[in-house]
Symmetry: C2
Subunit: 214 residues, 2 copies
């Protein structure tokens, strides 16, 4: 019947409120708490409307992911010129943002949801998360890396590999630990600074003495 193509439909305000309630339920109680009756009760809407708007439960889950990511939409601030001073800042800001995003409760809840459904065959939720969420961040990082190389601040052969290195230095096993339920205190700024420092020791060039400290 309905082709669920890649059209990223916008949701009506009412639907947005409902999806917000659903996200709230998911964050608070996990997937188990995300029942159709529960969403309907929390959002003061009818189950029939839920099924009319989102098709079925899986459609609701997918809509929640799309909705959330349509809100978070990464804003690229690449207007200014790159200098030796602010390039490191750009990297550190990226690292900070990445940590904050990954550690956000909504992000964690959605990732848990997608991972829980990953074993199912047609789940598509993991794909949605990766496609719409992760790729955004990856593109932003890659643009930054390429700009740094063009400006002479970075040296690397494979941009893919450089990105993975940066990501690993920033995140390490933090994401999985958070997903498993650990709640460590995170100093995103400090952590990001150290990661960027290590990354620049690996790939930095013409950045002054800063890349040798620590």
């Amino acid at each position: 019947m309905s082709e669920d193509g890649m059209q990223m439909q916008e949701f009506s305000p009412r639907q947005g409120v409902v999806l917000e309630c659903a996200l709230r339920l998911l964050v608070d109680g996990g997937e188990k708490a995300l029942t159709t009756a529960g969403v309907a009760r929390a959002a003061n809407c009818s189950k029939e409307s839920l099924y009319k708007w989102f098709g079925d439960r899986d459609g609701l889950l997918a809509s929640m992911i799309s909705f959330q990511q349509s809100k978070v939409r990464t804003f690229e601030r690449d207007g200014e010129r790159l200098t030796a001073e602010n390039f490191r800042d750009h990297l550190e800001i990226f690292a900070h943002d990445l940590i904050e995003v990954l550690a956000g409760d909504v992000s964690l809840a959605l990732n848990r949801l997608a991972i829980g459904q990953a074993s199912r065959d047609g789940s598509k939720l993991g794909g949605l998360l990766v496609e719409r969420g992760r790729r955004q961040i990856e593109r932003r990082a890659r643009a930054l890396l390429e700009a740094g190389r063009r400006a002479g601040f970075l040296r690397f052969d494979d941009a893919d590999e450089a990105y993975h290195t940066l990501y690993g230095l920033i995140v390490s096993d933090l994401h999985v630990r958070l997903l498993l339920g650990e709640k460590p205190e995170i100093d995103a700024t400090r952590r990001g600074r150290k990661a960027v420092s290590a990354f620049l020791r690996l790939h930095g060039r013409n950045l002054g003495e800063g890349d040798a400290s620590l």
Copy 2:
């Protein structure tokens, strides 16, 4: 089959077989497929026995994790002396093993299970996984790092930080991508070698010219 003596003190052989069947079900069909009736059918045992042995469903899940990790028991091969030539090998072997473990289907299934239950209050599954599984690997890596430092091959201030750096360089976002259902081809040896190379560029010392290549 072969009696190992020190193997499975907690579970009888029959229970081990049942847990094996349960793990198989979990790997194949995810948590949804792991029903008490399903396990009983697959293992040719009665539901009553399941509840007698493991208490309830959560007890079964916890037992599956304990059982699996009692099998995998990381074997430390630190008998030989460290030399400049084989220290790098040790690191690369560790990296290779780490990737293989994380990418194993049973490991992925159990991690998905624990992550799915992480939002629940008393889940403890994530704690079990971290405690029994991750800590093992962490101890092995840390012993290796400390030995490398004592032998003069490594230089770092904070062993914790050095370990996280090594882990991040090896794994990056691979683990989460696997958990989300992506199935990339992984060359564990190659990936490990690159990670170790970068790690040694950051923290290596007195290792000849190898750490400057690539």
